[in-house]
């Protein structure tokens, strides 16, 4: 318990350090840092109705983050959540486009399955390259993000293109109202229910199942569990595909829910933010539920800033990036370099 409290305190300390760095950058760019932070807090939480916006963004982020947690826990740096999210959304759009006219009770579940399958497939090939050949998964999943982004541009500009579109924004035909699972607000019983189900199932999987325990051990000490007879490659691949599938599920929900259609280059920072949530939460599912609200608030504020406060939305990207820079730090500032001279410096 004490270790957990210490971890939470350290995470908060590094988030504050990151915010301080952001303040310096804002001042350097000629903005008033207090005004910027005030506007962000207004847009995220303080304004009336801001909570709905924050929750709307927190839900897809939470679902994607649980996927990141499972693949990180099983010891693989799957940083391709963005690409898996995109491919899931593409798969969903194909299904909803081809099955247009069939009853919603059939189409919506198939859309969810297509989303999960799309995300899982986009995680499968880096996973296979990793466990079969040892190809570094950080690079393959990053490259997968770029390729998925181009595939998204390709399908929204070609096969799935909305012929009545203006041509300025490449997008698919809008999803028929019968298949929408929420309005623009992104908050509906279906979406909230799905997020809760994902959260509970993943919590049980991580904390109360043999797979979760083995995956956790695999991440900490792969050599030991191989000696114990577990199959590292199978565990890793399962973690990869679960992570991809959940990112794809988030993509399916975005298409059927608040977005209502597939737009080229939509939500470009979702994957990165989900990775951040996983790390800030210390790879814990229950922690991710709380942390998602904070980052959902930031995502919501990035829409509020340019419109109502006249401040650039890039401020939110900078805050996220600065948190990423510091969040994995493990030394207590001030103590680190007291002992540094005695400690043999391990490989960085």
């Amino acid at each position: 318990m004490k270790a957990r409290l210490f971890a939470v305190a350290r995470a908060i300390a590094f988030v504050i350090l990151a915010l301080a760095l952001c303040g310096v950058i804002f001042e350097f760019a000629g903005y008033s840092a207090p005004e910027m932070f005030q506007s962000i807090a207004d847009g995220a939480f303080l304004n009336p109705g801001a909570w709905q916006g924050s929750l709307r963004w927190a839900l897809p982020l939470f679902i994607t983050a649980t996927g990141v947690i499972i693949s990180f826990r099983s010891g693989y740096f799957n940083v391709g959540a963005q690409g898996q999210f995109y491919i899931g959304a593409v798969g969903t759009t194909f299904v909803v486009d081809f099955l247009n006219g069939y009853p919603a009770a059939l189409v919506i579940p198939l859309c969810f399955i297509a989303g999960i399958a799309g995300g899982a497939i986009w995680a499968l090939w880096p996973g296979l390259l990793r466990v079969r050949s040892g190809a570094d998964e950080v690079i393959t999943t990053l490259m997968g993000n770029f390729i998925a982004g181009l595939i998204l541009i390709y399908v929204t500009g070609g096969i799935l293109k909305d012929p009545s579109g203006t041509g300025q924004v490449m997008a698919s035909r809008p999803v028929a109202p019968a298949y929408r699972i929420s309005s623009e607000s992104g908050l509906s019983p279906t979406i909230i229910g799905a997020a809760i189900v994902v959260g509970v199932v993943m919590w049980i999987l991580v904390n109360r199942s043999a797979f979760g325990v083995l995956a956790g051990l695999a991440g900490r000490n792969p050599i030991m569990i191989v000696w114990q007879g577990a199959r590292m490659s199978r565990l890793g691949l399962a973690g990869f595909m679960l992570g991809g599938g959940l990112a794809g599920l988030a993509g399916a929900m975005e298409v059927l829910g608040p977005n209502g259609r597939l737009v080229s280059g939509f939500l470009p920072t979702l994957g990165f933010t989900a990775i951040l949530i996983a790390l800030v939460a210390g790879l814990s599912i229950s922690g991710a539920a709380i942390v998602s609200l904070f980052f959902g608030g930031l995502a919501s504020a990035s829409l509020y800033l340019p419109v109502l406060a006249g401040l650039p939305a890039a401020a939110i990207d900078i805050i996220n990036a600065a948190i990423a820079l510091f969040i994995t730090a493990r030394a207590a500032p001030g103590l680190g370099w007291l002992t540094a001279r005695r400690r043999a410096v391990g490989g960085a």
């Binding site: 050949s133 040892g134 181009l150 595939i151 969040i327 043999a344």
Partner: protein
């Protein structure tokens, strides 16, 4: 053919400079995934410095200064705060992308591309068709040779490699691995600034948001592909450049039959294949990355 060589050099030169930065960091024992962010900082600072003061030299100096500061920050976070280098590097990349976006909006009030009045000096008509290339392209072979000599033929290069491969051995002869990493990252910052300047001012003379488009990650992959050896890594990055140039060429030739967006994906696919080949040749990455450090309980 000459056209193709020119396209390859245009695509490849920024990549080569940034790859050398990656080689320095890799040999010193740092996985530098911040290359992408450093490169875009270089692009942005060079263009904004040039546009704001009208002096190319000031733009380059600004790019070098900011990249070195950002590299030093990355070093501090990885070495002193003992952060995970992969996540910290991705954070630095995000900081570069967001920071350059913020800077452009702060100065011009919009997200439009910034046009520079002129670019880096060109080689000129004396070089025939190759005259359109910038001086940094011509300097590239010499820079590569200089870094090869520095890394493979000097005491400093050996100390750097020792800091990466066996920090304890480096310490035992009085070399501080932490300081060597700082030097490697800062020197890499200078190279990233040059690579970014070449990308933004070499043939285009513009800055656009996200214009590096994964080239920093490609350079990092080239380092892995080339096993951290300066010449091999540069060769790998030139291979990616050839694929990129082929993609551009294919757009002109088959533009109506093959979708452009899929041809644009060629360099990324080549990178994945490169990483795969290098894993097969060298037995692959280390066992599952030690993740205990990311978890606290």
């Amino acid at each position: 053919m000459e056209e193709f060589v020119i396209a390859t050099l245009r695509y490849g030169t920024p990549l080569v400079y940034v790859t050398l930065a990656g080689v320095l960091a890799q040999r010193a024992g740092v996985w530098n995934l911040g290359l992408e962010g450093l490169m875009i900082i270089g692009c942005c600072a060079a263009v904004l410095g040039l546009v704001q003061t009208g002096s190319l030299l000031f733009g380059l100096a600004l790019a070098v200064a900011l990249c070195v500061i950002a590299s030093a920050l990355l070093w501090f976070v990885i070495e002193k705060l003992r952060a995970n280098p992969i996540i910290a590097g991705l954070g630095m990349t995000g900081l570069g992308l967001g920071g350059t976006d913020l800077a452009v909006q702060a100065i011009y009030g919009s997200q439009a591309t910034v046009n520079a009045p002129y670019g880096l000096p060109r080689l000129g008509p004396a070089f025939g068709d190759f005259g359109v290339l910038s001086v940094l392209v011509a300097a590239m072979p010499f820079v590569v040779f200089a870094f090869w000599a520095l890394l493979r033929r000097t005491r400093f290069g050996l100390q750097l490699a020792a800091s990466g491969e066996h920090p304890f051995a480096a310490r035992s002869v009085g070399v501080s691995p932490a300081r060597m990493r700082l030097i490697a990252l800062c020197l890499g910052g200078v190279l990233c600034a040059l690579g970014g300047a070449e990308l933004a001012l070499g043939s285009l003379t513009i800055f656009a948001y996200g214009m590096t488009a994964g080239r920093g990650f490609m350079a990092f992959s080239a380092v892995i592909f080339g096993a951290g050896h300066p010449i091999a890594s540069v060769a790998a990055s030139l291979f990616f450049a050839i694929v990129g140039a082929l993609g551009i060429r294919a757009q002109l030739v088959f533009g109506d039959r093959v979708p452009n967006d899929l041809l644009l994906a060629l360099p990324y696919i080549a990178t994945v294949i490169g990483i795969w080949i290098s894993a097969r040749l060298r037995g692959g990455a280390k066992a599952a990355s030690a993740f205990g450090e990311l978890r606290d309980y």
